[in-house]
């Protein structure tokens, strides 16, 4: 694989090359780093819009409606839609595209579905690189749709400049389930399917929780009602998103937020690299022996991990000399 050529072709706007590099990055193919280095310099850091919320609330339909509005303004768009990977088989059904079929043949839109694979926070651990690839391809805005079911699936925070949390009325203690995790990360709240009974109740529940926060540092999240399938409330949502983009672009918090994101990414890349270096040198049999000995309590995961990292560091010293 010629990674340099792949990167060059992506920067020239070749969609097929972008699609291929995304696959290679997802599979953690060796050598991807070379292409990503080139693309990082070329990427402009375009706005990333994160859409999250529990399954079935209408995230994909909202993405479609927002995307249509952005296209009407002539923006080129990247959409990354993440669905859960089965922890048992490693397989996944990626079905977000079903709601976006009108965009399939639009040359100004690039849609990529991803399984969450190893990522635990509702996001694939490779999603950051995918956003950069689409940026380098020439997308003006990138929308990332993730599943945010529980209280801790808030990884989208580490990537998006604007975060929209979508919920819907009539799901009982929905508000309870989102208040600890998702509530803290939303820049904009959306109560979708607002034609259902109980919509006002859900809106006021969220508003009253937001009222408990004393200082919003210049941006208090609005709580909007939409009926995405009918296109209702989408203009207001779109306005809010643009307002927040403008606010976030000026905000002095932005640099520190970006730095925190980069730090997280750096840590992840380093730990992935180290893990790979260690495990590449271990055979199946050796690993199995190690696991058996842990099972029999002759050794422990703690001692083995210590030994393995120490060995890697020692090897580094030897080669350095």
């Amino acid at each position: 694989m010629n990674f340099r050529k792949l990167a060059d072709d992506i920067m020239k706007g070749d969609r097929k090359s972008a699609a291929r590099l995304i696959s290679l990055v997802e599979d953690e193919e060796e050598g991807c780093g070379e292409a990503m280095k080139l693309l990082y310099e070329h990427a402009r850091g375009v706005p990333v819009l994160g859409i999250t919320g529990p399954p079935g609330v209408g995230k994909s339909t909202i993405v479609l409606e927002i995307a249509k509005r952005m296209r009407a303004q002539g923006m080129k768009l990247g959409i990354v839609a993440i669905d859960p990977t089965s922890p048992i088989t490693g397989g996944a059904i990626l079905g977000d595209r079903i709601r976006m079929t009108e965009l399939f043949a639009d040359p100004g839109v690039f849609i990529r579905s991803m399984g969450s694979r190893g990522g635990s926070g509702g996001l694939s651990s490779q999603a950051g690189s995918v956003v950069r690839i689409l940026d380098a391809l020439g997308c003006d805005t990138i929308i990332v749709e993730t599943v945010g079911a529980g209280q801790t699936q808030v990884d989208i925070m580490g990537m998006a400049d604007t975060i929209v949390v979508v919920t819907m009325p009539g799901t009982g203690d929905e508000v309870q389930s989102i208040k600890a995790g998702l509530l803290e990360i939303a820049d904009i709240y959306v109560v979708n399917k607002c034609d259902l009974t109980g919509a006002m109740r859900t809106v006021s529940d969220i508003r009253s929780m937001l009222d408990l926060v004393e200082d919003w540092h210049g941006w208090k999240p609005p709580v909007l009602q939409t009926n995405a399938r009918e296109g209702k409330g989408i203009s207001e949502l779109f306005d809010s998103i643009q307002k927040h983009h403008a606010f976030a672009g000026d905000s002095e918090h932005l640099a520190s937020r970006k730095k925190a994101q980069l730090r997280r990414e750096l840590q992840e890349l380093v730990s992935r690299d180290i893990t790979r270096k260690i495990f590449d040198n271990i055979g199946m049999k050796e690993l199995d022996d190690m696991l058996c000995s842990m099972l029999e309590r002759k050794s422990s995961p703690y001692s083995e991990a210590e030994r393995m990292t120490a060995e890697l560091v020692r090897k580094k010293h030897v080669t350095a000399r």
Partner: protein
């Protein structure tokens, strides 16, 4: 100990028929075999299918058609795949008369899985026929 790469398959419904039970069963089976399956939904044009497959960089496309229009739609998909210079395994399923098989094979479709095909056979076919990336 390099992890084996993940196989990505798109299951697509070209044309106007609304019967996707079979497509969903196949999608589910491939998922359970550890593959990532992208389902496009109903009523897709060949152009939409091929554009989606290009963006998703899938290793294989499974076309399902029960309306009888496969003799027009499938070859059109194959044509667009060639036009875009894509290297992708294409299989088909649905209600497809025997006499159409030679024409479909000739257009480049690797296999046709009619009603009654064992799920294991479809999984096995994909495992064996998906090539290494070049």
């Amino acid at each position: 100990m390099q992890m084996p790469r993940k196989i990505r398959v798109m299951i697509a419904k070209p044309g106007l028929d609304g019967h996707d039970r079979g497509a969903k069963v196949v999608a589910r089976a491939l998922r359970d075999a550890g593959m990532e399956v992208i389902y496009t939904g109903l009523h897709q044009t060949p152009e939409q299918i091929v554009q989606a497959a290009l963006q998703e960089d899938v290793d294989a496309i499974g076309l399902s058609c029960l309306s009888g229009a496969h003799d027009v739609l499938f070859p059109r998909v194959m044509e667009l795949i060639k036009e875009n210079g894509m290297d992708v395994l294409v299989t088909a399923g649905g209600i497809i008369p025997k006499e159409d098989l030679p024409m479909l094979k000739k257009s480049g479709i690797a296999a046709v899985f009619g009603p009654g095909t064992a799920i294991e056979e479809i999984v096995k076919f994909h495992r064996e026929h998906i090539k290494q990336r070049t």
